[in-house]
Structures are given as C-alpha cells and as structure tokens.
C-alpha cells in the first residue's frame, strides 16, 4: 500500500519532469544509464561475495577506489596519455590499463579474503563484518597516502564527440565506451557463473558449502576465486570511473561503494541480474535528482534519497526486487 503510493508519486515526478523539459530529460536519462553501468560493476562484486559468504564486504568500494587510482597512475604515468593522444596509441594503452587494473584489484581482493576473512569463517557474523570495516579504513588510508587528500584529476581521454544527436540531445562517445566495456564484462560474468565448472562450483558453495566439499569442491579455492572475480569487476569499474568521471579521491570508494551496495540490496542481494537492475535504478535516481529541474532536491540530497530508498525497500520488500525471500531478510 505504502509502496504503491510512493511509486505513484515517483511516476508523477518523472512524467512531470519529462513533460517540462523533454530534451534535458533525455540527456539526463543517458547519464543515468552510464552511471548505472559503472554502479552495476561494483554492485556485482558485493552480490557475488554476499551470495557465497553472506558477508557484506565493506572493503569492496575501496578496492574499486584503488582500482581507479591504479588506472589513473597507469594512464598518466606509465603510458603518459594526454588529451588528443592518437587513437592507435590511446586504445591499446587504455586496454592495457584496464587489464592491469583488473588484475591488480583481483589480487588485492583475494588477498583481503585470505588475511581478513578466512580465519573468521566459523565465527559469528559480526566478526567478519567488523574486519571488513577495518580493511576498508586501511585501504582508504592507503589511498590517502598514495595520492594525497585532494582530488586526482585526469584529462578527458575518452573522445567527447557525438555518436548521434536527435532533437537537441546528443549521445557522446565516452558514454558509449562505458557501455561497450560494461556489456561484455556482464555477459562474460553471467556465462561464467552459469556455464563453466568454476561457476558451478561457486553456485554449489553458495548453496551449501559442506555438501559442496563432500562433492569434492575445493571450497577455499572457490571462495578465493569469487573474491578475485569481484575484485576484477571492481577494477574495471575503477578504470571506467577514472576515465569517465575524471576526478577521484581516497574516499570516493566509500561513497560509491555505499550506493552500489544499495543497488545490490535493491535488486535482491545474491542475485546477479538484480544487482544490474538495482544499479540502473540507482544511477537513474542519482541522475534524475541531480539533473532535473522540476521539484528535485538537487545533488546535495542524493545520498539521503538513495538511503531513504534503501530503507524503504528493506522495510517493504526485504528480499529486493528480484530476490528470493530468505529467513534473514524476511
């Protein structure tokens, strides 16, 4: 009931904004989808880890942040890319940056699991959650020491030209590139989880680790693999964030991580498609709130709105949009 009223109000607000300024509505929509794609990569990491360990990996957002820092360092330092570097150099260099950032974050995330979570598998659930918060602080501090307290800014390396434009709305290349990187990663991930042996092992461990062990699955290795996979996704997200948003700071992982986690819960934590759906919704909420003129509180309130949505979702539908009802959430 309450949910229906809220949805109705939301629909009126969105339609009202669309009627007021259709052109800016369309461009805000595209920004929202692009942001949502980046959130989706981070949210998948949360959901993968939660699915297998039932652990909220608080440090995940900071792994994403360090991935972004790594990408920035590589792009500026190693490959010394600048605005207007020729495409023959730019794209291979960016690809290299992406791969290294992903490998770096995968290794980092697997290492975190090994050091901070593995010993606590049998412990009460509070224990690994608290070490996760501790690791998050450590990683933020690493970011702070590595890049200082200010923003790291990159030149606009991705091309800003129009892909197409219609009715005064233009779609730019950088947004398309974000989607072009995200889409294959998502498809690859879903194929990996659903079609490969490693994916089957992951699903088995998520369902029942003891039974999985009896079936000959190496549970520790599977969990490490899951963390590495989540880390690789965070690395890709960090790379895209660094190039698309072009500014990042040591605490950006915490902020974006919270939003992405919200997205994962919104879609139904543990559910891969749900994480992507939730991320798109959060991306749209953020873009609508910050970009639309009519009755929107503005960017100062984005986090408050996102968290209000999270709280409402947890109260009204704890299992999330696509999730299954569990004793934990129900």
């Amino acid at each position: 009931m309450g949910g229906a009223i809220l949805l109705g109000a939301l629909a009126i607000w969105i339609v009202g904004n669309f009627l007021q300024t259709p052109a800016s509505f369309a461009s805000v929509l595209m920004i929202g989808i692009t942001n949502g794609a980046i959130f989706g990569l981070i949210a998948l990491g949360y959901t993968l880890v939660y699915g297998i360990l039932e652990l909220i990996n608080f440090a995940h957002g900071d792994v994403f942040m360090l991935g972004g820092m790594m990408a920035a360092t590589l792009a500026l330092g190693l490959f010394s890319l600048v605005e207007g570097t020729s495409a023959y150099v730019l794209y291979p260099a960016l690809l290299g940056t992406l791969v290294i950032a992903m490998v770096f974050c995968a290794a980092l995330n697997a290492l975190i699991e090994l050091v901070a979570y593995r010993r606590l598998r049998g412990a009460p659930r509070l224990a690994p959650l608290i070490t996760a918060v501790g690791v998050s602080f450590i990683l933020q501090n690493v970011g702070l020491i590595w890049k200082g307290p200010g923003y790291v800014s990159l030149p606009r390396l991705l091309p800003q030209g129009e892909v197409f434009s219609a009715g005064g709305v233009s779609y730019t290349w950088d947004k398309l590139i974000v989607l072009l990187v995200t889409a294959p990663v998502l498809v690859g991930l879903i194929l990996l989880v659903q079609r490969t042996r490693a994916g089957k092992a992951m699903r088995a461990v998520a369902q029942d680790p003891d039974a999985a062990r009896l079936m000959g699955i190496d549970v520790d290795r599977t969990i490490s693999f899951t963390f590495a996979l989540a880390g690789a996704l965070a690395g890709a997200a960090g790379f895209l964030y660094a190039l698309y948003v072009t500014t990042l700071r040591f605490d950006v992982g915490f902020q974006q991580g919270l939003l992405a986690f919200t997205a994962a819960v919104l879609g139904g934590i543990g559910n891969l498609a749900g994480a992507v759906l939730g991320a798109l919704i959060i991306g749209l909420i953020q873009a609508f709130n910050e970009g639309l003129g009519w009755l929107s509180p503005g960017s100062d309130w984005t986090q408050s709105i996102v968290f209000s949505v999270l709280i409402l979702i947890l109260v009204l539908r704890p299992e999330g949009l696509l999730g299954e009802r569990t004793p934990e959430g129900g």
């Binding site: 049998g122 412990a123 509070l126 690791v135 109260v315």
Partner: protein, 423 residues
C-alpha cells in the same frame, strides 16, 4: 552468624599469616582483611576520587615515557564524553547484540537539539528560559542547558525508536545497513540543512554550523548563596567545570547501564543476543526489547552529543561522519563488547589516542629516530588495523565479558557463517 564470624576470623588469621610471610605484601594482606562489603566498592571509589581530582593535580604530574605529559583536561572532557557514547552503544551492540553502524546519528541529534534551543540560530524568535551567561536581550531561543541535556536525551531516544521500528523485522546484516543508512543521511542533513530539501528553511546553518551554543551554569542565586559557578562560560576554571560535569554524566551512565543490564529488560537483551529464536520461544518480547535497547542507547548518545556541543560551543556537520560511528564501535569492540569496564577502557584509550596520543607518539618517534612521519595522517589506517587485529586474534576484546566470550568461542550468538571452516 557465629560461624560466619569464626570464618572471617580464620580468614583474617590466614591473611595475617600471609602478610607475615610476604613482608612487602602488606597492602594485599590488608586488602584481604577488609570485609567484603567494603572491598567491593573500594576500588571504584578510589578510581572515582582519582578521576575527580584530575584537573587539580594534572599540572603537577610527572612526564610519561613515549607519550609525554598526561592528557590535557580539555582532552579528558572529550575522552569522558566519547566513553559515555561508547557505553550507550554498548547497550545496543554489547547487550542486545544488534549491530548499529549509524550511532553518530544520535550524537548529531543531541548536538543539534542543544544547538536549536541554546543558540542564536532562530534569530526571529527570542525566548530565555533559565539560561545563564547570555545577554537576556540577545536573539534566539536560550533554554538552560541542564534541561536541554535531558530534552536531547529524550528527543534522541524517540529518534532511536523511529529508526529502530522499521528494522525490527530485520536481522543481522540488514539491520546494520539500515542503521548505516540513517547514519549517512544525518550528516548530509546537517551539512545541507541550511536549505532543507531545497525549501529554504534553515535548520542547521549548513557547513558553518551552529554557534555559539550556551554553556550550563547555576545562575546568580545559587552562585551568591552556595558558591556554585554562575555560568561555565565565564568561569575561570571553565574546562575543569565541564570535566566534572562530564565525569558525573559518565558515572550516571555507568550506573544506569549496569542496573539495566541486571534488570528484566537487560536479561531479555542478553537472551536475544544469544539466540533470538530461543528467546522468542521463551516468551521474551522481541520487538519491545529491541526497541528499548535502541531508545536507551540513543538516549545516552543524545545527552553526550548535547553536552559535547555545549562544551565546544558549537556543532558542525563534519563532526558526524561515518568514521565517528566506527570510531565509537571500535571502542566497544576493542574494550570487550558487553563489559562495562572493558568499554570504559576502550573508550578512554581510543579517544585519547585520537585526541593526543597518536600525535605525541608520532612526535616521540620522530625525535627519537630522526624521522619525519605525520602520524595523525595514518590515524584511520591504524584504527583499521586495530579492528582487524583485535577481531582476528582477540575477538572478545581487551577485557572480555565472560558470557560473551563463551558465545564468541562457541559461536552460539548467531548461525555460524554457513558453518564453514577452512581445512
């Protein structure tokens, strides 16, 4: 009766014999000789007396190795207040076993409550109710801080219940996330509240914060007749006055949380912490007990926040970041969840390190090894390491609660994490 006396006599003889055998251990023997009724409260009374006198003898104390001087009295006020918050959080996390990651919301609520009713922020209105040390013609609402402390506690407890209500159905991680959400919303409201949701209403004065906030005091009548300070703000020993008030508040918190723990409600909390399902089956009212734990925890957080804002003379949004929630949680965990002594130790230690200790240790390291390390820069990394290391190697904390320790070791607090153990 006679038997008891005879037994006491025998004990005394034993103690005397001990004292005779270990000539140097006279004090221990004396201690053993004390009747138990005295022995129990003696240590706390001594500690309280030592703490109460601190502002008087602090300047005459010797220098400590490594950290240098003893903490300043102003630092000690902050230490006491943060310890009070840790004790409040201990009710929620330590007793009821509900993970609250947004405790800073209560701290903020208390601080802004006193900001609203004891500062010039609402300059359009003018009301003075027992305020001291303020010009009676000055604009804004000025209510006496004593009343506001209580008011802040109650208002915050109500907010705690409001936050708690939607989370009652949730368990474990979900609960943590909802409280985290509230804890994130609160500083944003504080930061942007000068134009609340774009409506132009000024609730928090935004990034400038609310200041000046009035100080407590006893007014001129009590000053003239009993010699009590008229207003803390104008007193010569302002910081000491705040120190003693903070100590009194902390002691009241210790007393209340101790009594609560042993009450029917407290036993219900501990039952919920140990096994929610079993507790419900035994007739423990889950929703009511949980809501009360939120209310009680919030109450003390609100008072602490209000008092601290009055001490600082202002409240600013950057005081209420997520970090602070974790900082207070670390005190509870480091000290030993559920154990009052442990939480006090953890609170005093961590807040001291935060305010003075780390900087002093850094200065000592730099002067001894000729290095140039900016230690406070690593502060949150160091706290992170403390959290991880304590959880990995001593999950029960420095001074563990015996019962809690058994839970942590046997893992009855919750379903073990999918029952997995590494091979």
């Amino acid at each position: 009766m006679r038997r008891v006396r005879a037994r006491a006599g025998a004990l005394r003889a034993q103690a005397l014999a001990l004292a005779g055998r270990y000539g140097g251990d006279r004090i221990t023997a004396r201690w053993r000789r004390l009747p138990p009724r005295l022995r129990g409260p003696l240590l706390p009374v001594l500690l309280i007396a030592l703490a109460a006198g601190y502002p008087l003898y602090r300047n005459d104390l010797f220098a400590l190795p490594v950290v240098g001087s003893f903490p300043l009295v102003g630092t000690a006020v902050a230490m006491l207040i943060f310890t009070m918050m840790a004790l409040g959080l201990n009710v929620v996390v330590g007793y009821a076993g509900l993970l609250d990651l947004g405790y800073v919301a209560f701290y903020a609520m208390g601080a802004y409550f006193v900001g609203w009713f004891a500062s010039p922020i609402f300059a359009g209105h003018s009301a003075h109710v027992g305020s001291v040390g303020v010009d009676p013609r000055s604009p804004g609402i000025h209510v006496t801080v004593w009343l506001l402390l209580l008011g802040a506690g109650i208002a915050t407890a109500i907010v705690g219940v409001i936050i708690g209500l939607p989370t009652l159905r949730l368990r474990g991680d979900y609960l943590a996330i909802v409280t985290l959400g509230f804890g994130e919303i609160m500083p944003q409201v504080a930061r942007n509240g000068d134009d609340f949701l774009g409506t132009g209403v000024n609730l928090t004065n935004g990034a400038q914060g609310i200041n000046p906030i009035d100080s407590p005091g006893f007014g001129s009548w009590l000053h003239d007749h009993l010699g009590l300070p008229e207003a803390f703000s104008t007193a010569v020993n302002r910081v000491s006055l705040f120190y003693w008030t903070a100590l009194a508040l902390l002691l009241a918190t210790v007393f209340c949380t101790r009594r609560l723990r042993d009450s029917r409600l407290g036993r219900a909390w501990i039952a919920i912490r140990e096994d929610e399902t079993a507790a419900a089956a035994m007739g423990v009212p889950l929703a009511r007990s949980k809501t009360w734990s939120y209310a009680v925890g919030a109450f003390f957080g609100g008072i602490a926040g209000a008092f601290y804002a009055s001490f600082k003379g202002g409240t600013f949004p950057e005081d209420f970041f997520f970090n602070i929630s974790i900082f207070i949680l670390s005190m509870v965990i480091l000290g030993g969840m559920g154990n009052i002594w442990g939480v006090i130790a953890g609170g005093l230690l961590l807040s001291y390190l935060d305010r003075e200790g780390l900087a002093n240790i850094g200065a000592w390291v730099n002067s001894t090894f000729g290095s140039n390390i900016d230690v406070p820069k690593y502060e949150f990394g160091i706290f992170g390491i403390i959290l991880v290391v304590v959880m990995l190697f001593r999950p029960q904390g420095l001074i563990p609660n015996r019962r809690r320790k058994a839970e942590l070791e046997a893992g009855v607090a919750d379903e073990p994490l999918s029952g997995m153990r590494s091979q």
